[in-house]
């Protein structure tokens, strides 16, 4: 099994490996001083340790995004659905992890073991390297299998988290979790293998998506969009004459905390996707990525702040929060090559897109409770296109074609799953249950039993 995520970094990794091997090859007669001179700048084992450390640190940061999504969503739903939303976020992480372990990870990184050439990988459970591994047990030029699995798993779980927010307040728990299982075990890893597993989008389309504006965020976004259409809007959201009734979230403190946690986690999300920090070049690149990721979030939040002030004469805090997230999603396809100023601009366009798209969705009566479709789908597409502005290796054709191919694949497969679930077990609670709130109906534990007016 190949552990290598196929993105531009791999070329650098390859180069690094060559450099590392140089001293061995150069070893010769007059060698003593030469050997000293030709020694690698960073010892191979140290490179391995540092790369692994990057995955571990970035991995726990991305893990914490699960808490970020939980808080964001808990803050943006009404208090009668908060326990449900929290439960879903804990449960979906568990389901995603199990599915990724059992089948997803190896499906996503098939190496040479494709089931259908360059399209669908091999099906097998993930295993780790032995305890107390030696250089012979591992790929010294990369990182430990366990750290790679740990890091990649968090991306898979993030994809599922995106769906959860859009469909809040009216979907049943178990159909949602079944959808999650299929999304994280099959849909996500298969399409991700097309790029990061070295599949046809990587090999034939020159598609570039550094940390997953398309492969993670738009995938969650498409699944959410299709789900929202099939599920329908919440009762009372859209009036008979086209009016839109805002349904305020219950806790802006949680929503803001969730946004900050996601922002924090994104340093791991994008920074870890460099996949290496064992050389001056790699660690300097990780630094660029951290700085750019931060500036894109800044661009998105400030743009949303200013635009809502201009448009509505008041500032909508939920727009500012989603603006920050929009900036983060927008920079995710290419956080390395932009300058700091370009990162601000890429993020700012994302922030503007969110402010513009939210009312647009309402026009089509697509009820997205937390704004995940504008943030993750719209800005995921924008970010993927924006790669061409700062990375000359990207082509507009390759980016657009990949966006369309992945969009079609995820939409169609998601629609099929949602339709089957709807036809068999049903995906929506009854109107009465929706009014009572999902906490009473499915969870039996209210989130704030002493606060709410009921």
């Amino acid at each position: 099994m190949s552990l290598t995520k196929f993105n531009p970094t791999c070329l650098r990794l390859g180069a690094a490996a060559a450099v590392l091997l140089a001293p061995v090859m150069a070893f010769a007669q007059e060698a003593a001083p030469a050997a000293a001179e030709a020694a690698p700048d960073v010892a191979p084992h140290v490179v391995y340790i540092l790369n692994t450390l990057l995955f571990l640190v970035a991995g726990f940061l991305v893990f914490f995004m699960a808490a970020g999504f939980a808080m964001l969503e808990a803050g943006l739903v009404r208090s009668k659905n908060v326990s449900m939303q929290l439960t879903k976020n804990v449960a979906l992480f568990g389901i995603a992890a199990l599915m990724y372990l059992i089948v997803g990870y190896n499906l996503m990184y098939p190496g040479d073991n494709w089931t259908i050439l360059n399209v669908i990988g091999a099906f097998s459970i993930t295993s780790l390297q032995p305890v107390g591994a030696t250089a012979a047990d591992v790929d010294v030029s990369y990182a430990s299998a366990g750290s790679d699995f740990f890091f990649q798993l968090m991306f898979c779980a993030a994809t599922a988290s995106i769906v959860s927010g859009t469909l809040a307040e009216r979907i049943k728990l178990w159909p949602f979790l079944i959808f999650t299982a299929i999304l994280t075990g099959l849909i996500y890893p298969i399409q991700a293998s097309w790029k990061w597993g070295g599949g046809f989008l990587d090999a034939n389309f020159g598609f570039l998506d550094f940390a997953g504006s398309t492969l993670v965020h738009s995938v969650g976004g498409w699944a959410a969009l299709v789900g929202a259409i099939i599920l329908g809007a919440r009762a009372g959201k859209y009036g008979p004459n086209g009016q839109v009734n805002p349904i305020p979230g219950s806790n802006m403190g949680f929503a803001t905390l969730g946004t900050f946690i996601l922002w924090l986690g994104w340093f791991g999300f994008n920074g870890g996707s460099q996949l290496a920090m064992g050389s001056i070049g790699d660690v300097t690149d990780v630094s660029r990525i951290f700085a750019n990721t931060n500036m894109a979030a800044v661009g998105g939040s400030v743009a949303a702040l200013v635009l809502t002030q201009i448009l509505y004469k008041k500032i909508d805090i939920t727009m500012v929060l989603n603006g920050a997230l929009a900036g983060l999603v927008s920079i995710t396809a290419e956080p390395l090559t932009p300058s700091l100023v370009s990162a601000v601009l890429i993020g700012a366009v994302g922030g503007i897109l969110v402010v513009v798209t939210v009312p647009l969705l309402d026009k089509f009566k697509i009820d997205d409770v937390v704004g995940a479709i504008p943030v993750h789908l719209v800005c995921g597409i924008w970010g993927t296109i924006a790669v061409v502005f700062t990375n000359s290796d990207a082509t507009l054709y390759g980016q657009l074609a990949s966006i369309v191919i992945i969009g079609l694949f995820v939409s169609i497969t998601s629609a099929i799953v949602w339709m089957i679930l709807k036809a068999t077990m049903g995906i929506r609670v009854s109107a009465e249950e929706e009014m009572m709130g999902l906490d009473v109906v499915e969870i039996g534990v209210e989130a704030y039993p002493e606060f709410t007016k009921r």
Copy 2:
């Protein structure tokens, strides 16, 4: 003073040290190229830096568990006791840190300075290595004293946090803090020295407890159990005819956030307990531990999710949260040797144990407000036994004997302290004060002055 935590890692550390010394010993006539070849894979100073870094990163993660416990407990008590619960969590951390500084740390790692051979260590205050230390000032094969103290302190504080949740809503602040001082300054470090300080459980029983299912979690659990029995249940919890009245927590958002923070911190808790990451073997092991720790939490939460659905037809979110924590506690005694699937199963058994044990405690009218006894004591025992399934160095006898010895020691000493506190200053607020809530009585600041109905 020895800084070495005596667990299987030490053997590896010793081996590493031997390897590191090899080039020096091998230095000889034809040495030039040989020296280059025999150079350690990772330079000794780099090993020291990386080990120290592991403790610093793991240490701040475990530190953050203090926030996790605070949020979990604040979410699971009624709003009239939230300020008290928060205050206790900040205060107990301070008391624990002071006691561990003054006496606990050196008591726990006596090196050769035992007061009573292999049973009670030396009493002395902790000091650090000099500013700008050189190789001569430190143990180059290990890590800095400051980082070790920082890391180990967090374990001590975690032990005290466990007690705090069980006894919530009726215990007085100051007796609780006095108990905390004795637990963290004497009880915890003495029993931990028996294993991690190289004491008799390590030397004579072959006891294995990688990161503390027994030494940390069950210790907190025993102290909580004894305290709960002596303190008695909250007013109204148990009816006259054996009925159990659920007392819902005030904020599921905080409870969920706390769980996620604890889950995050656990990567440091278990990963840092490898005590080294300066070699391919060590960093690969840390990766295994991260991945296994995560999968055990997944196993625990999903098992609790499914089981509560089956048993009660509704999902109890507090059970799902405690299921995740149960999985984490269960894997803590041995997060390294299990496969990913074994980790899921070990965690799942923990999750099931919690769902089963909570009503059992109620049978005995032991009122554990947050479920800390099922999570930390029951699963701490389970996890310690489960070591024998994946680590052939463990013996069932050694594990069981150690569980019993530590259980007896902690229960008896805790009971004595609780009894003395009860007899002298009293440990429980009056019935009237309990009804009013501890925030009004002892803190004078309500947690949510504008939300609650009173």
Copy 3:
């Protein structure tokens, strides 16, 4: 542009660089074994990678302090102003980042490019090192430019966060953000350049301020104090006959969470200010800093706990939280040289100062909503003076003179900006708007629409 923060560390860094160059210079005839012996203990590239990694990890920890300030402040204001306070915290971070990018960073680290010699640096936008940098592109003895910018930016943002809390519940959003822009783009970086940029306080006064008790915390404190005086107290805070009406915060859970997050972030704040961890000396120093920072917070919180119990017979949780923060601010000027016990004492004095200063401010009718002036200004001064007790390089004269010079500069410039804003656009909402709450007036989104009694 120099990337070097001018503090005692630089001397060590210089020494380290000399050592690193030694093998090159020593290279000679009989060199082979000699070369091996004289090889640096840590390879130069590894030093660079580790230093950069320190900035990245410390940087994300300090970033998270933005969430800490947001939670602390959201918890300590009334619920009608929570959305505003959250919005301000997200927005100020964005404004600070933009200003620091455009002008602040280079103004703060002018290297040889001073506009006015040793007083005001050069004005220019920040740029990063190229993608895939090589040793020739970077300062190998330091760290990547991107990581340094990322880390330093977070300090600038923290300064602005301090102001936000004091002025809560009555200041208009946009004037506050304009002040933030000037504070973070000009006031903060100019005065910081005097020390960390190698300006006159560093060159001529021997001023020592390791991580910014004065340069960060007191600066925020002075700006807040002047702002509070010009803005005036909240309606109803001070009665006509000198009585002080406490205005309780809305959510102690958020306040406590915010404190723990700030505490966590402070490990990065102080630890990262070592600016290096590529040697035994540096990483051991970082460990000392982590341990001391933690013990100072402990000293501050426990001192406030005990003192409020003695003075008021009840414990004020907000005092305990501010006590922890006071300890952290107090140790920030010198977290390296104190022993663990000294760190406790330095922090404890900070905790006591807070308990004493809060009522003092009320005497002068200076309305500081969250207690930022006692914590950041008073303890910032205390911590800066306390350097002389443990670091023999510090002089009382140099410390006091620098405190006064920076205090005057920040107070005067802040006062001018606040006055201009007051005279032009106004800085305070109307009495009626203040009563309604800023969420309804300026944000249009209530924080807790279902909880509050209105």
